[in-house]
Symmetry: C2
Subunit: 304 residues, 2 copies
C-alpha cells in the first residue's frame, strides 16, 4: 500500500456531537503526516487508532479554528506522554507565537523539540523532502492566508528481476542498488548487460493533494496535475455559489471542475456546511462533472 | 430548584474517547455559569443540551490545557452563531492575551463584547455579584496560579404569609417588598404589626464550591464552610499521596478531609487520573472519611 488516508474530521465551522472539524491522517510511502487539527482531533485519533508516536510532521492549512484549535491540545498531550522525538509543525506565520504563548502560560514547556516551519509565500514551495516523499504547498484563496499541501512519493526504485539476475553469476547483492537505480551491469569481460534485461519498471509514484479551504481557484490545477487522490473542500452546493464566493469557499461542482481539469484519479469531498442535512447531495452534484467521487466521513480510510 | 450542576467533563490531563477534561455547567438561583472549559466542552454542551445562549459568564480556574483549551473554540463558535450579548471571562492573568492572539490570527474578531476579568490575587475576592448570586475566588495551590470558585445565592426574601396578610385590609400589594425585606407594618392607627406575623423564614441560601486543581489545602475550609455542595478534585488515591504532593493534586481521602472539616453537605469528586480504571475506588476511599460522596461522570446532573 502506498497511500492510506484516514479521515478524522471533515465538517466545517463548529464541532458538534458527531461532526468533527477538519483533520486527516496520511500514510504515504512509509511516512506519516497529520493534516490540519481541529478541536477534538486527539480524541478522533484515539477513536480511529492513529498511533500518537507515528506523528512527526503536522501540516496546518490556515489559522481558522476548525483547522487548528486542536493543535495545542495535541502538542500538550505529546508532552504529557513524555515524547522525546522532534515534532515539526508547518503552518502560516503566527502559529509559533500562538502555540508558544499557551505553553508559556500553562508552564508546560514540552521537553521534546518543537520545530516550527512558518509559511508566508504566495507561491508553491517545497516544504518537506526526504528519500521517500516530498511535500509542496498549494497556495489557496481564503479569508486568511491558506495553503493546501501536495504529498508526492519520490520516484521508486526499479524492480529487480531476480530470475534474470540469478543467471548472471557475477552479479552480487551489493550490485542491487545500482540495478534498482537503472544502471547497466558491466561483466568482467567488459560486456554490458542492459538494465532493462535485469529489472522492470517501478511502481508509479503516487500523490495526494489536500485543498481546504478555498474559493474556486483553477490555477492550482498545474500543481496537483494527475494526483491519484484529491481532497477538495465543498462547503456548499451550487445553489449557494454566491455565498461560496463571498466566504471564499467552494461548491461541490467547483471541486469537481478542479478534479476534472487536473485529471486526478479520485476526488474526495468534505468541509460540508452544517446547513446541509443530506451530504449525499454533494456527491450527486460533483458526479455530474467528474465520475470518481467519494464523500469524506469520520473514520473512512482510503487506500491505494 | 436552587442549584443544578451538570458535569460536562471530569477527567484529567488528556481528552480520550469517553473521558472529557474538566467543564461544568451551573445553574444557581436563576443564573447560569460555565466553569472551566477543557477541549471538547462545546461538543459536550451540545450532547447534554446546555443552551449556548445561556452562558454569559465563564470561570476558568487555571491555564492548564485540560481546563481551558476548549475556551477559544467556544468563543469562536459564539461568534459564528452571531451572538450579540456580552460574554464575561474570569481567569488568571494571561487569558486575555492568549484568546485575543488567536482571534487576531484567525481574523475572527467576535462582534459581541468579550470582557475579561483577569485574576491575580492570592486572597479570596468577590469577582461577581448581582441581586441573585455572588461568586468569590478560592485561592488554590497548584503548579500554576489557580482559583476555585465559591458560588453563593444571595439571601432570599422572607416568604409572605398571604392568609395572615389578607386579614389586614390596609396592606396593599405595593407593601409586599417591604414585608419580604423583613420590615414590620405600621397601621394608620400607628399600631405596629411585627413582620414575623406576616411572613415566614426564607429558603436557605445555597452554595456550591468548585475546587480544581489543588494540593491538599485546609485553609480553604473557612471560605467554603457549610457549602451545600463541594466539588473537590481527586486525581489520585491515597496510595499515591506522594505523587499528589509532587504534582500538586489531591487524593480522594484529602478531598474528603476538606469536606469533613468544612462541614459541607455533599462532596462530588472528579479529575481522576487515567491510571485508575475503576473510579468507584475514589468513592470508597472518600467515604471512609465523609459519608455523602458522589462521583462526577459526564452527563451527571445534581439538583438541590
Amino acid at each position: 500500500m502506498s497511500i492510506e488516508l484516514t479521515i478524522l474530521g471533515c465538517h466545517s465551522a463548529t464541532p458538534r456531537v458527531n461532526a468533527y472539524p477538519t483533520a486527516q491522517y496520511l500514510e504515504i510511502n512509509s511516512r506519516s503526516f497529520l493534516i490540519d487539527c481541529g478541536e477534538g482531533t486527539q480524541r478522533q485519533m484515539r477513536k480511529y487508532k492513529v498511533g500518537f508516536s507515528k506523528i512527526n510532521h503536522i501540516f496546518i492549512s490556515h489559522l481558522h479554528g476548525d483547522h487548528f484549535f486542536g493543535l495545542i491540545g495535541l502538542i500538550s498531550t505529546f508532552g504529557i506522554l513524555n515524547r522525546e522525538k522532534q515534532l515539526h509543525i508547518y503552518g502560516p506565520t503566527g502559529i509559533k507565537e500562538v502555540i508558544n504563548l499557551q505553553l508559556k502560560h500553562s508552564k508546560s514547556h514540552v521537553k521534546y523539540d518543537l520545530i516550527f516551519h512558518e509559511l508566508n509565500s504566495k507561491k508553491s514551495e517545497l516544504i518537506f523532502e526526504d528519500e521517500k516523499v516530498e511535500v509542496r504547498t498549494i497556495p489557496l484563496h481564503h479569508r486568511v492566508y491558506t495553503n493546501g499541501f501536495f504529498f508526492k512519493e519520490k520516484d521508486k526504485p526499479r524492480k529487480l528481476n531476480i530470475t534474470a539476475i540469478k543467471k548472471i553469476q557475477e552479479i552480487e547483492t551489493c550490485d542491487y542498488n545500482n540495478l534498482k537505480a537503472g544502471k547497466d551491469f558491466k561483466l568482467s569481460s567488459n560486456e554490458i548487460i542492459q538494465n532493462s534485461l535485469l529489472t522492470s519498471d517501478p511502481e508509479a509514484a503516487l500523490s495526494y493533494a489536500f485543498c481546504s479551504d478555498t474559493s474556486y481557484k483553477p490555477d492550482i490545477v498545474e500543481i496537483i496535475q494527475e494526483a491519484n487522490l484529491l481532497y477538495h473542500e465543498a462547503t456548499f452546493l451550487a445553489d449557494k455559489e454566491d455565498l461560496a464566493k463571498k466566504t471564499r469557499h467552494s461548491t461541490a461542482k467547483q471541486a469537481a471542475l478542479i478534479a476534472k481539469k487536473a485529471k486526478v484519479k479520485k476526488l474526495i469531498l468534505g468541509h460540508y456546511s452544517s446547513r446541509y442535512k443530506d451530504i449525499s447531495l454533494f456527491k450527486k452534484e460533483a458526479e455530474e462533472i467528474f465520475k470518481d467521487v467519494i464523500l469524506a466521513e469520520a473514520g473512512k480510510v482510503l487506500s491505494m
